[in-house]
């Protein structure tokens, strides 16, 4: 059953990467990167459950906080601030 979840998350990563590769404007690609990092956070939690090592969840915790900071910087630049 975990393999089914991993296949669904891999499909979501493929669709987000396709949007980032084909997106006409820079804003589309920033949103695609944001969704890619969010899907990655969920996938890391699922892989931690699969490997039965619950200390691995800390990686996805740090990942969620820091990917938010990176996308926030890019969005602030697109707005014209910074």
């Amino acid at each position: 059953m975990t393999i089914f979840y991993l296949i669904m998350i891999a499909l979501a990563i493929i669709f987000a990467a396709a949007r980032g590769l084909l997106g006409p404007t820079a804003s589309d690609r920033i949103v695609a990167l944001d969704s890619l990092t969010t899907i990655t956070t969920a996938g890391l939690v699922l892989l931690a459950f699969f490997f039965q090592r619950y200390i691995y969840v800390d990686v996805s915790l740090v990942y969620g906080v820091l990917s938010f900071v990176g996308v926030l910087t890019l969005a602030r630049y697109m707005e014209g601030g910074l």
Binding site: I3, L6, A10, I13, I14, A17, G20, L21, A26, R29, I30, L33, L36, T37, T40, G43, L44, L47, F51, R53, I55, Y56, D58, V59, V62, Y63, L66, S67, V69, G70, T73, L74, Y77, M78, L82
Partner: protein, 82 residues
């Protein structure tokens, strides 16, 4: 564990596509987005290869710090490359 091999091969293909996207862009913001996507995929790859501390450092450096420094540099110079 053959599906794990397929997962690693798919992630490596995605890594190569993102790296080629990052180095062929004339718009430097899109190049920064590509470099950030490379960091995301590389972090998942380190995580699958049972190195969560390396994945943690890669997420912290690649997603947040590199993106912020490059965006500040682009803000102080030009956005488009001749």
């Amino acid at each position: 564990m053959e599906w794990m091999t397929f997962l690693v091969i798919g992630l490596i293909i995605l890594l190569i596509i993102a790296a080629v996207f990052a180095i062929t862009q004339k718009d430097l913001i899109l190049a920064v987005i590509g470099a950030s996507a490379v960091s995301v995929v590389l972090s998942i790859l380190f995580y699958i290869l049972q190195a969560p501390d390396v994945a943690l450092t890669e997420a912290a450096i690649g997603v947040a710090l590199t993106t912020i420094i490059f965006v500040i540099t682009i803000k102080k110079t030009k956005r488009y490359e001749e």
